[in-house]
């Protein structure tokens, strides 16, 4: 066994030397994750606020102005332009300077004073559906509320029975992330995506490279076991993946104030299992890929696209067609995204998340097993 340890040690040392000789590699495993973290955490937000709005007040009365103030006061709309004709709306929409237009027709105040239904047109640019949906939702709600207030004031003045004017008032509470900062949502998931990219991408080429260099055969004529080679190859990347986990956690806390509510042990355990699962996947690619190029491409297809799009990191998996949900089960990323988010934000522990932990453990075992088997078969042909 001590011979095995010496041999594994030699592989680990060698792998680190390769890393040290290639400064771009350092860039890929340290700098790129930090840039990704900053990009995603700073740039992406799902809360639609301050939708640029153009208002056209053809009534120009104190009543119409007080109505428009509701828009100005709403966090969802930002009045960027006061137009005078309908042509201004076309212009603003064409040049993307506004996405919502509120048009108050002349006679607005007069109609209301007469107890009538004053007409307002709200035009929403649907070319950016997310913002459009929110704008649509909130402008409907805003008008309902305004009408309710008008009715109430009128009924009050008339001394009428108010029983039909009781109102439900939604009090929205956001759990786990009360300020709804999208960085809280994205960073725990982003960590998973970054680990997946770093580990799968780099290990996918590691065995192919030995084959390309011809050093494969030299390893084969040595007493080295397959399992020793695998462990020796995995160890450095396990360390680097953990370095990335720690780095992202610390940066997330320092820069974005991400809470770590659960046990760090649960996160570490999850990360370890996930790293093994990803490395297993990388090794599997490496064991079956005929060339470096192919390995690279497969790694990109398997590591990047599914972990980015099918992990639930930014896009809710419950919303996608069932076939794609099944596909997502075939990749380890979604289990880890669930674990990471639950541990960071919900304070969950191993006991709460045992199905995910079990899935990752099984995944890691199967991947490492298969790749070890396939690699062996290939090398002795």
């Amino acid at each position: 066994m001590s011979g095995a340890l010496v041999r594994m040690g030699a592989i680990v040392r060698k792998e680190f030397r390769h890393l040290g000789r290639d400064p771009r590699m350092l860039l890929a495993v340290v700098i790129t994750p930090v840039i990704q973290l900053l990009l995603f955490a700073y740039a992406i937000s799902f809360d639609v606020e301050n939708v640029p709005t153009i208002v056209i007040d053809l009534d120009r009365t104190p009543t119409s102005r007080s109505y428009l103030e509701k828009y100005e006061a709403s966090p969802f709309f930002e009045v960027v332009e006061h137009g005078s004709t309908l042509a201004d709306v076309d212009d603003a929409f064409d040049h993307n300077t506004a996405r919502v237009a509120v048009v108050i027709s002349a006679g607005f105040a007069r109609t209301l004073d007469g107890g009538g239904q004053a007409q307002v047109a709200v035009l929403v640019d649907g070319s950016e559906p997310t913002a459009a949906k929110v704008a649509q939702t909130y402008s409907v709600a805003l008008n309902q509320l305004y009408t309710q207030q008008l009715t109430r004031a009128w009924a009050d003045a008339q001394g009428l029975d108010l029983s039909s004017l009781g109102m439900l008032e939604p009090r929205v509470r956001t759990w786990y992330n009360p300020e709804r900062r999208s960085s809280d949502f994205l960073i725990p998931g982003l960590m998973v995506v970054i680990i997946a990219i770093v580990t799968v991408q780099q290990t996918a080429v590691t065995l192919v490279r030995e084959r390309d260099l011809g050093t494969q055969e030299q390893l084969e004529v040595s007493p080295m076991r397959r399992i020793e080679l695998m462990v020796g190859k995995l160890l450095p990347w396990t360390l680097i993946a953990f370095l990335d986990v720690v780095m992202i956690t610390l940066l997330g806390r320092a820069l974005f104030g991400i809470p770590l509510r659960g046990q760090p042990v649960a996160l570490a355990l999850g990360a370890a299992l996930f790293v093994f699962a990803s490395l297993g996947m990388g090794l599997l690619i490496s064991a079956i890929a005929p060339s470096m190029d192919t390995a690279n491409i497969i790694a990109l297809l398997i590591a990047f696209l599914p972990s980015f799009l099918l992990s639930g990191f930014a896009f809710d998996l419950a919303q996608v067609p069932i076939v794609l949900q099944w596909l997502a089960y075939a990749f380890p990323a979604q289990y880890m995204v669930t674990i990471s988010r639950a541990v960071f934000l919900k304070g969950a522990g191993v006991a709460d998340l045992w199905p995910e932990f079990a899935a990752l453990a099984a995944y890691a075992a199967v991947m490492l097993g298969i790749s070890s088997l396939l690699y062996g078969r290939r090398s002795s042909r």
Binding site: S127, Y138, L150, T151, W175
Partner: protein, 373 residues
């Protein structure tokens, strides 16, 4: 410049492509995979959110409210726990994403004409769901209030606002309608940048690039010969995506084909330039791939391709103007969704001209200098 030599180079490039069955398959699979992933995963309408309802009121009103929620299509009531305390584990495990709590005495308060608070809890660990979910909930409650008001006689005489909210251009608000035009531009960028930089670096790796420059072939001829096949391939891929979008996802096309063609042609120069620049700074294909990733990630995040620029913080938004894809998306989405003409798209078109001149020009100058060395 010799047409014969250029034709020879183009033939060579196609022959090499044909000998690489994996690449061919990949070039076909990539647009299809992206069409599926972006069409069904990214451009997805959030609906049927798993919802828990805690009805402590147990009245006609509370049941009506529940019905309003489940009838909206946005919420699917999957759990009805007895107390609020039971919500915690449901949200912890992610069994439900939204919870509606109707306190005891809600109906009584309403009939007294008071304002009755109801609790809506959203899972903030998923920003998208919490943003959209709380918006839908507010809309449903507002509608509920309005219906109650209208059902009474008071509303008939009372003043009110008849707001007509109309969605222009994309009335179904289907995100696919903007995703597919965006994907056409994105796939051109990916194809030209990734595949072309790989091809040039491969040529350098195998030493044939050096061979090429001891022949009478001119740098310009080499570039044209190298670029034409990949531009053709990218065009084929774009057509595939466009066909998939128009016929499978039934994306409407409202604009002018000319606007799309001019926009894409302008953008193509930028993409080619970026591909050449990548191949200049990379010695191996692996490095080229990493350089491409280095460009692609900020491009995907900041261009508004996946995440709307609208939602970005004000300090970040100016940065999006540094990303060429941002303007290509404006042109394509404008043409597809809004039917915008050249005049309306003058700014992004000019921006694309600017990027094209600078990036393509720089790459040509740098490549020629490199070759001359």
């Amino acid at each position: 410049m010799s047409g014969k030599r250029i034709r020879l180079l183009i033939w060579k490039e196609f022959t090499q492509l044909r000998r690489d069955p994996l690449l061919i398959r990949l070039l076909l699979v990539m647009p299809v995979a992206q069409l599926i992933l972006f069409g069904y995963v990214v451009a997805v309408d959030i609906r049927n959110l798993a919802t828990a309802v805690v009805d402590l009121d147990r009245t006609v009103t509370s049941r009506k409210l529940e019905a309003a929620f489940s009838g909206s299509g946005y919420f699917t009531i999957t759990q009805t726990p007895r107390t609020e305390d039971d919500l915690r584990p449901l949200l912890d495990r992610g069994t439900v994403k939204v919870a509606l709590v109707i306190p005891e005495g809600t109906q009584d308060r309403l009939t007294r004409g008071e304002t009755a608070p109801i609790g809506i809890i959203v899972d903030g660990s998923d920003s998208q769901i919490s943003a959209v979910g709380s918006g839908y909930a507010s809309q449903i409650v507002a509608q509920f209030n309005a219906d109650r008001r209208e059902a009474s006689g008071v509303a008939i005489e009372a003043p009110g606002i008849d707001a007509r909210v109309r969605v222009m251009f994309n009335p179904t608000l289907d995100p696919v309608n903007t995703m597919i035009p965006g994907l056409i531009a994105a796939i051109m960028m990916i194809s030209l940048m990734v595949i072309m930089s790989q091809a040039v670096v491969k040529e350098r790796e195998s030493g044939t690039l050096e061979q090429m420059f001891v022949t009478p072939i001119k740098a310009t001829e080499y570039l044209i010969g190298k670029l034409t096949p990949y531009a053709a391939l990218a065009t084929a891929q774009m057509l595939l995506v466009a066909a998939g979008g128009l016929f499978w996802f039934r994306v409407p096309f409202n604009g002018s084909v000319w606007v799309v063609l001019v926009g894409l042609t302008l953008f193509m120069f930028t993409c080619i330039g970026l591909g050449l620049l990548v191949s200049l700074v990379s010695r191996t294909r692996h490095q080229a791939q990493q350089a491409v990733m280095f460009i692609m990630i900020p491009t995907m995040v900041l261009s508004g391709f996946i995440f709307p620029i609208q939602s970005m913080p004000a300090i970040i938004q100016p940065l999006t103007n540094l990303i060429p894809l941002t303007f290509a998306l404006q042109v394509l989405r404008g043409a597809f969704v809004k039917g915008s003409d050249f005049a309306a798209l003058a700014v992004p078109m000019l921006a694309l001209v600017g990027f094209g001149v600078v990036i393509f020009g720089a790459s040509i100058v740098a490549t020629r200098r490199r070759i001359a060395e």
